[in-house]
């Protein structure tokens, strides 16, 4: 029954089953044109940043680097790797993202499932609680004090637990669960499966794409979290990648200032490390893990769920 709910070979199937008609070809051509344009618009500025990170420092300062490196140096990246807390912050962010996403997925799924069931008593009340908590915020002072009172200030938990359920993500999952045919659940309960079993072995296998997507949204949320993490941590060893990036960007002028020296014979030391170049190096290095991890998540985000076959 749960065997063929997901069919990764959808691509092949689409082509094999019914021949492509003209409208499909047109749609695909439009898709290519629009998306390639969009992708270029997204990628070119990124190239701009990466090129700045590895271009000759004075060329960066002169603004002559646009989409392609001018000259080449790795001193800025070397500085980022050796002198700054890049790897510590990367490690912290990875731990927070992985553990946080796991916890958040658990709470999200367990919350979304009861709330998605139309027969669930108390559904409207609990859902409304989530809407209210999404809209109202007490401010940073009480939020800080709650974290302090619980005793998790300046630990990983302070960066994980307060964000362990994001209402919006919960609604996305709930929406998806609601779209699943109720017959499936009913047949399961006739088979004598309890609610946890139904969720685990019937609902979740049918929801892989949305789970992958929401996991991605959580991961992005943890990865990008800046303000609260800044407030809840204070040790240099707890710094996350976002804090690190802001500190580099806001301080790069101070870094170049203290690094910079010139002999009176005119030899310039450290001229390859410039404010802009340093920012660019730090930012591009921080993008590497994201770009590397995305394809793995994407494998599960494919469409092609065939719920109908279950019914049939």
């Amino acid at each position: 029954m749960k065997a063929k709910t997901l069919s990764p070979e959808k691509d092949k199937k689409n082509i094999n089953h019914i021949p492509m008609d003209a409208s499909e070809k047109v749609a695909e051509i439009i898709a290519y044109v629009v998306l390639v344009l969009l992708a270029l618009m997204a990628i070119l500025p990124c190239l701009h940043v990466i090129s700045k990170g590895i271009s000759n420092g004075t060329a960066v300062a002169a603004g002559s680097v646009i989409f392609w490196p001018v000259g080449f140096q790795v001193e800025a990246i070397n500085y980022v790797f050796t002198r700054t807390a890049f790897f510590t912050s990367l490690k912290n962010t990875l731990i927070i993202t992985v553990v946080g996403t796991a916890i958040a997925m658990f709470t999200t799924v367990t919350t979304a499932y009861p709330l998605s069931r139309s027969d669930f008593k108390g559904r409207r009340f609990v859902t409304l609680l989530y809407v209210i908590s999404m809209v109202f915020f007490g401010g940073i002072v009480p939020a800080y004090m709650v974290v302090k009172t619980i005793g998790i200030l300046d630990t990983y938990w302070a960066c994980i637990l307060p964000f362990a359920i994001v209402q919006f993500n919960m609604f996305i999952v709930k929406n998806y669960f609601e779209g699943l045919p109720t017959e499936v659940e009913e047949s399961a309960s006739i088979d004598g499966a309890n609610d946890i079993r139904t969720l685990w072995s019937i609902i979740l296998p049918m929801s892989v794409p949305v789970l992958a997507t929401v996991a991605l949204l959580y991961a992005i949320n943890y990865w990008n979290n800046y303000f609260h993490v800044m407030m809840y941590t204070s040790s240099a060893s707890m710094k996350t990648l976002q804090l690190y990036l802001y500190d580099i960007i806001n301080n790069s002028a101070a870094i170049t200032e203290s690094l910079y020296s010139t002999s009176f014979e005119g030899t310039n030391y450290a001229q390859n490390i410039t404010t802009e170049g340093l920012n660019a190096a730090a930012v591009s290095m921080s993008l590497v893990p994201i770009i590397a991890a995305y394809p793995f998540v994407q494998r599960y985000m494919i469409s092609g769920i065939t719920v109908g076959s279950v019914k049939g």
């Binding site: 300062a61 603004g63 800080y144 500190d247 806001n250 020296s261 010139t262 009176f264 001229q271 410039t274």
Partner: protein
Amino acid sequence: MKKLVSLLLIAVLALGMCAAASAELLGPGNVTLKRLSYTCPWDPNNDYMVPIMKEATGYDVDFYALPSNDADNKLMLEVGGGADYDIVTVNINQWRMLLAAGALMPITDLLNTYGQDILAGNTDEVWATLTQDGDIYGMPYMYPHSQEITSFLVCRKDLLNAAGITELPKTISGFYDMLVALKNFYGDQYIILTGPLVAASEGNDSWRIPKCITSAFGIYSDWMVEDGKVIYASESPKFVEMMNFFNKLYTEGLIDVDWAVNSESAVQEKFVSGKAIICCGSRALVNFTTAAMIDQLHISMDDLCYINPLYGDDGVCTYQESEAINQVSCVLRNAKHPEDAINWINTKVQNQLFINIGVEGVHFTYDEVGQISPINPIFANERGDSYYYIDATNAADYQFQWPSRIRKSAGQWHAFNATTITNPDLSIFVKNYFKFMPASEAYATNNTALYSSLQDLILQMMAGVKTEADLATFANDFANNDGEEVRAELQAYYDSLAK
């Protein structure tokens, strides 16, 4: 009521402090101190300066840095939540907030016992600033050079000469004539003057128009004193004339059209790439641009020249002294090791030359006139970061030691020499009356917002979005945002000085 509450609070805290204060000096090696300071671009615990300070003082210290954004919020929340840093090194405004909140420990006795070198290193006038009700609450790090030209204009001499300009202007009308001559000669080929120079941090010195031009209109600061009366820059008799001048430059295309948007790096970029002829400058800017221009544009250092503060056509030129307290180091009431904190800072002052500048023959030599000359690049590589770890200093010694930090960069020294050292006219300097003003509430609370709206007004009038007619609205908003309360405080302080 409020006073009563804060008195009670102070009493409670003081009781707690008595328990803490009974602790004794544990000495180096037996204690790890906690120091919190402003944002740090590198990992403050993983820097070559850490072992150097350990070598000199014997103390282990954990360094904590405030974030680069929202530093005030974070500082006050942590302190309010009961943080126990031994040393907090912050700017004077943050120190005033901490003092007003009753978060600081009086350190007079500690200084007498463990901090003799710190005490001796600064003048009574400075200590008076950091004293409240007879007790000292902070240790100063003084700005090392009091009569520095911090704002000037850097010019491409080669381009000036090509356009037939050989003499740099001294007056405001001469300056205007030069800009027009350059425009007539080069047309749209170059940006004639680019700016402004806004430091990354929003200090009170980041004016949106260069002070070396406002000097010609007698305007040198946001708060000024005229005939014994404290006035705001916008109320100065020549403010409108000044803004009309800048508006004229803007509409005639003599200055960068992106003036209101330019970040520091955008200004640098335009100058280094050779797109601009004149650039609003500062030490920090030329430190970097000069070397980059030599590399990119194949010019030499002698192709750069500097315009000092301009004189009005009536001969007026006013420029504010830069002397002030850079930072204050203080001890929190919850600190666990106040004795060792003071002792550590005192030992650092004793070893000031070694820690901040280095070893003679290795990091620096004395030149023929006895000044410290750095040896590059080892000076930058092994002492470049020392500024971040400075707490209190021996001010007189540091005034002598500090110029070596400028000399580590030839471009910076070139400009410093041309503007500050060889500038003969010291009569342009106006005393900063308020530099040692003690903590005052309205000023600490409101001045940042007032300052920011003044800078907005300046940019708006320059771009012609606002005109003289809008000054009344500005004055109105100024009053609504407690500007008059701030003025009253400043006036009262000024009057007390005059006595």
